[in-house]
Symmetry: C2
């Protein structure tokens, strides 16, 4: 296994990442069920808990998602009463998303989610940090 430059599925670095990402996603499902969120809804809330009142575009830049994906997710969060969408009066192209009281309160319930997931992931801190570093190296390289 000296390089990935072969048509063997086991040798495919990109496939390993893809499978890994999907398997981790499945770990979230039962944990996020408890707070009635999907993974995409959850990461959208993470952004909002960190920066309330943010444009859809800016959420998309952080999450690497476009409005085609985000618009329906934000609408679903709005339907749950967790966020509100407000078109900017300064620039009417922009829709800003803000947390409701319920949305803010959910943060408390969500605070144990990362720990629960990492328990199942089975990496020690050193490997976790290394994996994180390599993922962002790829992301930065692609973004250029």
């Amino acid at each position: 296994m000296n390089n990935f430059n072969e048509l063997s599925i086991k040798n495919q670095l990109c496939f390993a990442l893809y499978a890994c990402s999907r398997e981790i996603n499945k770990l979230y499902t039962p944990i996020l069920d408890e707070i009635n969120l999907t993974y995409t809804q959850y990461i959208s809330m993470l952004v909002l808990w960190e920066k309330d009142d943010i444009a859809v575009k800016d959420m998309g830049d952080i999450l690497f998602l476009d409005s085609g994906t985000l618009t329906p997710v934000i609408k679903s969060l709005e339907k749950k009463g967790l966020v509100k969408r407000n078109r900017s009066t300064i620039d009417e192209r922009i829709v800003n998303v803000t947390l409701t009281k319920e949305g803010l309160e959910l943060k408390e319930k969500a605070k144990d989610v990362p720990a629960k997931v990492y328990c199942s992931v089975g990496l020690d801190k050193e490997d976790g940090l290394e994996l994180y570093r390599l993922c962002y190296k790829v992301l930065d390289s692609i973004k250029k």
Copy 2:
């Protein structure tokens, strides 16, 4: 950034993996367009190029996908004339997938795909191997 156990999107190891996987997937799109395959179709063909005449179940175990995902993918490959589906006579629950002549011939056209993608990924060999190792460490840990 000493741990990932916080509700900050930038600190989320799992998010990094998820974003990384999706961004790499986008790199494949224009490259696989040239041989008229989607990513899911491509990894299915990778399995078949390595082991022709394989049950849907066994493809699924390799790709971490269930029949709900694989059945339509295999049918789309069949429609393109790349594979055939044959129900086993020994055990009629099983559907075996085999390559057609066209499916086998496509392998030659696909052989440069990995190299083209890795050029864009921007990792040297050492980092690539490390990322691969960590992904499979997670996958093995989840699979138990």
